[in-house]
Each structure stands twice: as C-alpha cells, then as structure tokens.
Amino acid sequence: MTMPTPVAQEAKVKLAVQGLSIRYGHESALRDVSLQIHEHEIFGVIGPANSGKTSFLKTINRMDVFNPNMHVEGAILFDGRDVRQWRNVYALRSRIGVVFPLPVGLPLSVYDNVALSPRLHGGQSQADLDVIVERCLTRAALWDEVKDRLDALGSMLSGGQQQRLTIARALSQDPDLLMLDEFSIAVDPVTTMRIEDVLKELRKEITIILVTNLVQQARRLADRTAFFLQGECVEIGVTEDLFTGAVQDRRTRDYVEGKFG
C-alpha cells in the first residue's frame, strides 16, 4: 500500500508542461508555463477570470484544433509523450475525461449519454454497459435521482443534474486523467460536497486537474495548486502553503485572501 503523499516528490509524473504559451491571434492568453502534475494527485488551478485556466485545459486534450485562431507553443508530455506528437488524437482524448463549466447533457437518453463512450470503442455486452452506467451515475451522485428514468432525455434534466451527468460521462471513459473546469458552477452546495467526496476517492485511481474559482474548494481537495494570473503562472506549491502564507509572491496571498479577484 503506497498512498501517495501530498508532496510526492518521488511520484511518477503524469503530465509535464514545458514552456507552454497560448495565443489567440495576437492576444496572449498564457505565457511560458512550466509545471508537472503527478500521478494520483489532485492538481488545483486557481486564478481570476481571464487568467488562461480554460485555455490551459484545452491544449492538454488538443481541443485547440477546433479554433484555428489558437496558437500553442511549448510541450505537454502526457505519460512522457508530447500530446502534439500523438497521431491519433481520438485515442488521446479518450484517456482524458473533461467536465466543462456549463453542463452539456447530450440530447440522448440518460443511459445513452453514459453508454456513449464505451460504445464508441465497442466490445461491451449489454450487461457490461448496464454495470458501467450504474457505476458512473452512482459515482457522480446522480443514480438515485435518475435510476427510474434512464430513458429520459439527458438534455431535459435540471442544470445541476446535467452537470453530474457530464461527470458520469467523463467517468464512463475510464480516463487516467480527469480535468474539471469549474464543475460546481451549476451545482448546489450539497451535491458539490458529494462530488468532492467522489473526487477524493477517485484520486486513488486516477490523476485529476481541478480548475476552480473557489479557492476553498482547491484547499479542500488539491494536493498542490497553481495560481494563474493574467496568463502567467505566478505560483505552484503544496496547496496548504498557499493558505498559510508560505508563498513566494504576495499576489498569491492577496488572491487567496480575497483581496482581488
């Protein structure tokens, strides 16, 4: 039993970002960011609006290709291999689960929403699918609410339910990296807590990048946290240090103490 310690200096590197810069046209969104994310950690990313958090996530699973205006420089090594060298981006994406800030319940049944990813790769029997659907919905704290109406349209659920459906869908990919972008924006506090508990459980199996604008959420969950500000990575450290004042940059302390934002 080797539970990863929060600091985990010796832990395996899951994602290594080297000199990453992102531009939209001529507007710079992220400048020269280098950081390492370890296997089995929750890596928090905090920062005010427009600091480049979402853009950062998009480059990791190559969602940047949808926007011809978006230019990326630097290297992102996923399991030691640059994501831009993967010939099959679909294979890369299927290993990375993403949860967007705004819920996206696909206009399919609840069941089909969760079964979509396993079906893409084929090979599962109906019974297998049933198991996967139930497990993922349970983990996303949604099973009890929808187990009697798995046939209902996913896009007809409430906002908070759709968000949990999105999480269940991301889990159904059985990803080794899960990226959450301000997932709690459309979810009530009680459910948020339940999902946070699930994330703590998941950490034992996978690596999680948690982008959040709630600094307390980062404090509750993240082992280490990066602070982004206007396209600059100001600080990376053990999360607790950011809150107890052991920070290098005073802008970090100002931010976590709510002095600006």
Binding site: Y90, L92, G97, V98, F100, P107, L108, R169
Partner: protein, 312 residues
C-alpha cells in the same frame, strides 16, 4: 436633483400620458391589423379552395361510387359504351414514382446536407449552399424535358428496353428535383444542433464521423424526418415532370421499366377536354380531392415534426 423630486415630477406628466392616444398608439394598432390580415389570408385561401371543391363537387361527392373508384384499376374515361373510372393504377403510378424518387433523393440530400453542414467550411460552404438553392429553383418542365430527351434514350440504350419513359426515368427525375430542397431543410436541421454537443462528444475521443452518427443525426432526427416528408409531398404533387417522364400509360407497374401514369398528370392532361359535370369530370374531381387531402396531411405532419424540433 433628489430622487423624490424626480419621481413626483414624472408622476404629474404620466397621469396625462396614460389617457392620451398618440400617433405611436395608432401606428401600432394599424400595423397589428395589417399583419393580422396578411396572416389570416393564408387561412382564407385554404378555406376558399376547400369551399370551391365542396361546392363544385357537392352534387356528386355524395352519390359517387367511391369504393369502386379506389378499388378498381381500369381507367377508361372516354370509352363510349362502358367508361371505367378506377384510380388504383394511378395511385400505384404516383406511389411507385414517389417511392423511387425518395430512394434516390434521401441518400443524396442527407449526404449533401452532412457535407455542407459538418465538413465544408468558409467559401466552399457558401458556394454549395447557393448551388443547392439554384438547383431547387429549376422549373419542373425543365426536369421533364431532361427526362424526355436525355434520360429516355439513355435508359433505352443502357438497359436495352423498348421505352425509356417509365418508373425508373420519372423516379430519378423526381428524386433529383426533390433533393435540393430536402438538402436545404436537412442542412438547417443539422445546423440547429448546438456546437457544444459536438465538442462534448469530441472531447470524449469520438471521431468526426462518430459524432455525426451518434450525436448529431439523433439530435436532428425530427428535422430530417420533416425534410423527407416535404420531399414526399413534393413527389405526390408534382405534375409536369412526371407527365413527361412516366410514359403516361395506365398500369400497375411490375418492374422499374413499366410505364405508369400519375394522379396529377391525369388531371392536367384530361380536365381540359371533359364536359363540366360529366362522369369523367367527376372522377377527375375525386382525384383532386384525394390529392388535396394527401398532400395536406403530409405537409401538415412535416410542419408539425419540424416545429417539434424547435420547441423540444
């Protein structure tokens, strides 16, 4: 200026304003009435057509042998001794041509719509859209001409059959004719699927094709069905092209190479030479009512289905 001053000052003026009907008010009312008249005129036309049909046909609609008309296949309206007015063969003609037309048009228009909506971008997309709309504007007599002068010899040669004016010819012509408008509507339906659905699916590692098959097409299902139904309605109602390309001979077709005759073409070809009120005239009238009801039902359901898309 303080808040109380402002609000009390306003209140005095407002008391007057509430009762005065000014120019804006009259313009607003006038526009409302105008728009209402325009809107209602469509309904008035439909009711007018319906009244005309019932009035014209009133005398014989009740006493006609409807069962015989719809269940026999012999259409010999100008036989001196024993004219027969069975429209079963005409229905079969229209149905077979429309069926083949859909078999041609559905793959073409669906493929075209998927390409334009999902793959083409920028200039290509704009040019294609304009082309599709131009195609939709070709008059049906031109299509009939193509059937007569190009398809006819082509079919005779390729399949070594005596006549090239048959179900195959008319079905292909009608299919090509209906395809552009179906493409256009199907493309609208695909475009109405929000991009966030595509992005969500692609983020999971779905390929472009998987996204289309598993997410976009199911989401656009109703709009696509509406497009097909409008195509079917077009097929039933089309007259000139089928008159020219079917061969216009009464027949229940046994193969693609049999000539047939369509309901619409029969009316167009024969109504001019029948005496008003004669039995022949009445039979043509019955066909008209039948077509009216069928196309009405098809178009109405297409409309309801497409509408369901926007609301659901």
């Amino acid at each position: 200026m303080s808040n109380t001053e402002l609000s009390s000052g306003r209140a005095v003026v407002a008391a007057d304003d509430f009762d005065r009907r000014n120019l804006d008010w009259y313009v607003d009312k006038a526009v409302q009435v105008l728009v209402f008249i325009c809107g209602i005129s469509a309904v008035i036309f439909i009711i007018g057509i319906f009244t005309f049909i019932t009035k014209e046909g009133y005398a014989f609609i009740l006493q006609m042998d409807w069962v015989e008309i719809f269940t026999t296949q012999y259409w010999f309206p100008s036989d001196e001794e024993d004219p027969e007015f069975g429209i079963l063969a005409l229905i079969a003609g229209t149905a077979s041509v429309t069926g083949l037309a859909m078999a041609v048009a559905i793959p073409f228009s669906l493929g075209g719509a998927i390409f334009v909506a999902e793959f083409a971008s920028g200039k290509t997309r704009e040019v294609l859209k304009v082309l599709v709309e131009l195609l939709a504007a070709i008059p049906s007599v031109v299509w009939g001409f193509i059937g007569l002068s190009i398809m006819n010899p082509l079919i005779i040669e390729t399949f070594d059959v005596p006549v090239g004016l048959n179900v195959l010819n008319a079905g292909i012509i009608l299919g090509l004719m209906a395809a552009p408008i179906m493409t256009s509507i199907a493309e609208d339906a695909l475009k109405a699927v929000p991009d966030r659905y595509r992005e969500a699916a692609e983020a999971m590692g779905a390929t472009r094709w998987q996204v289309i098959v598993r997410v976009v097409l199911p989401a656009a299902r109703n709009g696509l069905l509406g497009a097909v139904l409008l195509g079917v309605g077009r097929g039933f109602g089309e007259t000139m092209a089928v008159l020219m390309a079917t061969g216009h001979s009464v027949n229940i077709p046994g193969s693609l190479f049999d000539s047939v005759r369509a309901l619409t073409a029969t009316i167009a070809a024969e109504l001019g030479e029948t005496a008003v009120g004669s039995e022949h005239y009445q039979a043509l009238f019955a066909i008209g009512i039948f077509l009216f009801i069928i196309t009405f039902i098809i178009n109405l359901s297409a409309d309801l289905i497409v509408r369901g898309v926007r609301e659901g």
